[in-house]
């Protein structure tokens, strides 16, 4: 595949400004850039969802004009989307069937099973998408793409919801595919992955081609600098001694049946968090995180009032507004539709969680527009939310900027407790670093923070303590400097740290070997 001089404009915005890219068979090529740099626009043109305004695409040596995705698939171009293009009401099998040409539809269920077993992506073909977690949905996307047997696979952030072990398995798949002379265009924010996996990288910034390089010759800092245009700050975290600090939140024997029949039940979850502590709860998507967030936030009140005690107040049965009034704040995983409403202006979005009559957003029940405007200005400034003009609608922000806004809105309330789910999912390096720094700063000013995350980099950057949730069970809580990434990874995979030693040792050795190879490659 070769792209030359590709231009795409949306109104006055030039999303792609003369982009060149060539892909060779058997190559894993990284496409790097911040959110809004034009990566998604670019790959949509390769996949036929958008048409370039200028420039030329050639496929296997011949010039092509890719009119629609069906044509792209026919040519042998497959795509794994970042924003899932799945049908919620349909089953896994039906979702996959829709993307395949009619002739390939035979024995589909069997082929789904074979492919998902071969590539270590377990799937139940009869499950309905609406009941699946984010991670499982991504697996459906990947299997769907692989079943089309494409020559070029475009992957938009495929590992963002996988555990390190799952990601390792995916890398083996990708390497296998590359060895079968397929090309892979790999979009990721995770520079370590790119360095490990990719032979070449193309870097975009603000719609322009910045450079093409060999990521193995660069280090994470130089790559990030090229993406952002300036250096990305490391998160500064001073370790703190939490011995004898008063507990802010105590969870004891929390049990919760899932709302959806394929959700995960919480079984006997117990932990406590000290004031000013950051507790990170690691785990693979779909292991009860959604239920845990629901129980902690009060979106799903639990019947046992005493199973959650917040600052001495048993609150298990209370709803989210009551908990907010008592000084808790929550940032859910889905920013759009759950954390913020796309069609509302940012200032109005503030009201969604600032619903205490005394917090200054209303006067005798009437919305105080001036106060909201001031708040909106303060939040967007403190969290560096970049937007076209002040007080845009939430839907007009990119994922990273919206996440910064939602975080800023909650931080601004100066909560005693902040529960955040996947704070930097799908957020670019610059924004992620800012959000993490803000979390650390907030905790050092006395706020207790619980972060539900599956990003080990993030956890090791910000956590004071870490626990792992697996199939609805919670592990012990470990101080962050007493565990390794590998151990957390094993816990995430449902293994016991004191489990059968040979498995653990073998796994550990394997991942250590891989780490060393990566370092050698550097």
């Amino acid at each position: 595949m070769q792209a030359r001089g590709i231009v795409k404009r949306f109104g006055s915005l030039t999303a792609n400004d003369y982009i060149d890219l060539s892909l060779f068979p058997g190559e894993i090529h990284a496409l790097l850039g911040e959110n809004g740099a034009g990566k998604s626009t670019f790959v949509k043109m390769l996949y036929g969802s958008l048409r370039p305004d200028e420039g030329m695409l050639s496929w296997k040596g011949a010039e092509v004009s890719i009119k629609n995705p069906a044509m792209a698939r026919q040519l042998g171009i497959g795509m794994v989307f970042q924003h899932f293009s799945l049908f919620e009401a349909l089953t896994v099998e039906e979702n996959i069937l829709l993307a395949l040409p009619p002739l390939q539809a035979k024995n589909l269920r069997q082929r789904i099973k074979t492919v998902s077993a071969d590539y270590g992506l377990p799937l139940d073909p009869t499950a309905t998408i609406a009941d699946l977690s984010v991670g499982e949905r991504q697996r459906v996307e990947i299997v769907r793409c692989l079943l089309q047997e494409p020559d070029l696979i475009i992957m938009d952030e495929p590992t963002s919801v996988l555990t390190p072990q799952e990601a390792d398995e995916l890398f083996l798949v990708l390497e296998k595919l590359a060895s079968e002379h397929k090309s892979i265009l790999y979009i990721s924010h995770r520079l370590d992955e790119v360095k490990r996996l990719c032979q070449r990288a193309t870097i975009l910034r603000h719609g322009k081609l910045i450079s093409e390089c060999d990521p193995r010759q660069e280090n994470a800092k130089t790559l990030a600098a090229m993406m952002v245009g300036s250096e990305v700050a490391d998160v500064r975290r001073v370790p703190q001694d939490l011995h004898g600090v008063k507990k802010c939140l105590v969870v004891r024997a929390l049990n919760l049946e899932p709302e959806l029949n394929t959700g995960t039940a919480l079984v006997d979850v117990s932990f406590d968090v000290a004031r000013g502590e950051i507790l990170c709860i690691a785990g693979i998507a779909g292991n009860g995180q959604a239920e845990l967030f629901g129980a902690l936030s009060g979106e799903t009140p639990v019947s046992d009032v005493g199973s959650i005690v917040f600052e001495g107040w048993p609150c298990g049965a209370d709803g989210i507004s009551e908990r907010r009034r008592r000084g808790a704040a929550f940032v859910p995983e889905e920013r759009n539709g759950h954390g913020a409403l796309a069609g509302l202006k940012l200032s109005k979005n503030i009201l969604l969680s600032w619903n205490n009559p005394n917090d200054g957003t209303t006067k005798k029940g009437v919305i105080d527009r001036m106060a909201l405007a001031r708040l909106e200005g303060a939040i967007t400034e403190a969290f560096d939310v970049r937007m076209a003009h002040p007080d845009v609608e939430a839907g007009a922000l990119s994922g990273g900027n919206l996440q910064k806004f939602v975080m800023g809105r909650e931080v601004k309330r100066k909560p005693k407790l902040l529960v955040v789910s996947q704070p930097t999912w799908g957020v670019d390096a610059g924004a992620a670093s800012l959000i993490r720094q803000k979390l650390v700063d907030l905790s050092r000013s006395g706020t207790t923070i619980i972060v539900i995350s599956q990003d080990l980099d993030e956890i090791f950057e910000i956590a004071d303590q870490v626990a792992v949730i697996s199939e609805g069970h919670m592990s012990d809580v470990y101080p962050i400097d007493e565990v390794t990434r590998e151990q957390v990874g094993l816990l995430m995979g449902g293994m016991d740290l004191n489990g059968p030693p040979e498995v653990t040792a073998a796994e550990m050795a394997q991942s250590l070997m891989r780490d060393r190879e990566t370092e050698d490659a550097v």
């Binding site: 629609n68 799945l86 829709l98």
Partner: protein
């Protein structure tokens, strides 16, 4: 004729137009288009069928005309909501008002004229069977067609690839578009199919139910059909049960009034609508049922990005 036979036969007659119109609406809604113009398309079918049957003397040409008139009536709705992306609710209401008015104008010449009745098909031997003969084997072609149509719709929606595409369009038009499904084409077809079904339902009213033309003769049946689709949670099998249940309630309250039951007749007349509300409440309580089956993009405008 035994009384039970009479009751069952009238229930079938009452249920058939509901079933037909709801069947078409179900397909349109499964594709994501909420067409509140069923009443208007139905009455256009009724007047079209009556006019053609009256002038040609053939009820079968009348049926064809009813189907055609319903489909034709759906075209402006399809163009406005799908191509011009107008609001589906408002456009559907406009279609109902337009249909009621236009049919009155067209039908003015036919008021009081004797209609052409579509005769039942008698099957030698079977029709004379005791108990079930007249009920099962002595119906007209539209009654049989309504059942066959429903089965075909079920097979289409759940057993064919084209039906899967249609459901996909109703569930997430942007994902369907991303996969290369032609969202607008699918929706045009679904809306026109819905119009044809409503037209056939109208033809049944003016050729069988009361073989004559009176203004506003659909009398709200189009609206009941819209409700039936929700009642059935967009599942064809439940639609069959629902249509016959509503038909039964419509007829039984008439029989109850005739038998002089000591209940105010206004209450009996409102029974079908009360039943609608109660059932809707019961269905809405089951969140997973509704969430699983209701087309997520129902009523939402679709504008493909360039």
């Amino acid at each position: 004729m035994e009384i039970y036979e009479a009751i069952i036969l009238t229930i079938i007659t009452a249920a058939t137009p509901l079933l037909l119109a709801a069947c078409g609406e179900l397909v349109a809604e499964r594709a994501g288009i909420l067409n509140l113009g069923v009443e208007g398309m139905m009455i256009m079918g009724a007047v079209g069928a009556f006019a053609v049957a009256f002038s040609t003397g053939s009820p079968y040409l009348g049926i064809a005309a009813g189907i055609g008139a319903g489909a034709l009536a759906s075209l402006p709705f399809a163009f406005l909501t799908i191509s011009m992306v107008t609001n589906q609710v408002a456009t559907g209401l406009a279609l109902t008002i337009l249909g009621l008015g236009l049919s009155g104008m067209i039908g003015d010449a036919y008021i009081g004229q004797p209609g052409v009745k579509l005769q039942p098909i008698n099957i030698q031997g079977l029709s004379d069977l005791p108990y079930v003969g007249r009920i099962l084997f002595s119906q007209d072609v539209i009654v049989y067609a309504s059942i066959v149509l429903l089965v075909l719709v079920w097979i289409f929606l759940f057993k064919t690839r084209a039906g899967l595409s249609l459901r996909a369009v109703g569930d997430s038009h942007s994902s369907a578009h991303a996969l290369g499904v032609s969202v607008r084409k699918v929706r045009y077809m679904a809306v026109i199919f819905g119009g044809a079904c409503a037209g056939l339902a109208g033809a049944y009213l003016s050729l069988v139910y009361t073989p004559q033309w009176t203004e506003g003769m659909t009398a709200g049946r189009g609206w009941i059909a819209v409700v039936l689709v929700v009642f059935a949670t967009w599942m064809p099998g439940r639609l069959l049960a629902g249509a016959y249940l509503f038909g039964a309630v419509l007829i039984l309250q008439l029989h109850a009034q005739a038998a002089g039951v000591n209940i105010p007749s206004q209450f009996l007349s409102s029974l079908p609508y009360l039943a609608t509300i109660i059932v809707l409440v019961l269905i809405s309580r089951n969140r997973t049922l509704v969430k699983k089956n209701s087309p997520a993009c129902l009523g939402k405008p679709f504008v493909p990005d360039v």
